[in-house]
């Protein structure tokens, strides 16, 4: 929690302005990926909490990262909890 709003997230392609890291946004996106993969709500929340903690640990030493990096690291951690959800999380932009 200590870095919320401190770590700058550079958006995809640099077209949109950077924004501070939002824990809730990451948490919600992981819950959504887990639910899309058919995970029950409680389990999805637990997985999202663990993955968000892991990403925040990774962010602790970095003042600025790209949104792509956050997604990559989150997918890596999510893969250990739920490979199907990690696949959907990582690939949802390349389905279309």
């Amino acid at each position: 929690m200590q870095h919320q709003g401190v770590v700058d997230i550079v958006k995809r392609g640099g077209a949109r302005p950077s924004e501070g890291f939002q824990r809730e946004k990451l948490h919600t996106s992981i819950v959504t990926a887990c639910l899309s993969a058919g995970t029950p709500t409680g389990q999805a929340e637990t997985i999202a909490k663990n993955v968000t903690e892991a990403v925040m640990g990774w962010l602790r030493t970095r003042p600025e990262v790209t949104s792509h990096d956050v997604r990559r690291i989150a997918a890596k951690h999510l893969n250990t909890h739920h490979p199907d959800a990690a696949y959907l999380y990582e690939h949802h932009r390349t389905i279309l």
Partner: protein, 237 residues
Amino acid sequence: MDIVTSLAIVTLAALVHASFQLSVSVLTLLKSHSLGVQRSHARTLRLTSSYVAGAGVMTLLLLSLFALIFSQLFGTEAPHLVWAIACGLLAGVGIAVWAFYYRREKGTSLWIPRSFARHLSERSKATKDAAESFSLGLTTVFSELLFIAAPLIISALVLIQLPAPWQLVGIVIYTLISLMTLLSIWVLSSAGHRLSELQKWREANKHFLQFAAGGALIVLGFFVYVCKILTDVAGLA
């Protein structure tokens, strides 16, 4: 060209249409978003079935429109030049599909204008009721026109030669067969198959699907050229 040959051409064109992936991608996104926001199974089913119905209606309308335009322009028999252009278009689109259909990146991103892809992706996320879902199905088929125009045109040219009842049969056959892939994905995902499983299969086999679609377009172009132009010119009909 006899009725059986005509319907065979329509069937092959519809199979080529069915092998195109845009509508399947949008269905995957629609289902994924619907599950992600915890919509009920019944509501998700309503959304996806409306989407499939929309895609079917647009396919039917587009084929009917092409057939109407051609019958107004040429009556019941298009000139050989038009057939030759249509065959060339099939071969050209077939080669283009081999070269460009998928973007050179991971996943199943297609070579459609990115603004179309963004719009469809955003709409699949924002779709909340059956009417919106139906219109998403209509829009998706229209967005794929770049690739499906060739099989639609050749089917329309074939259909205008047939007696009216067989034209209707041809339109129904084309619409049903072109929806086959979409219906399969809809049935599998509604029956509980995981979306990630289906998407992984599509990604793993995308080059085969691309090769098959491109190859079938070229074969179809060659077949129609031989069946229609060469046979007529040689007076074998």
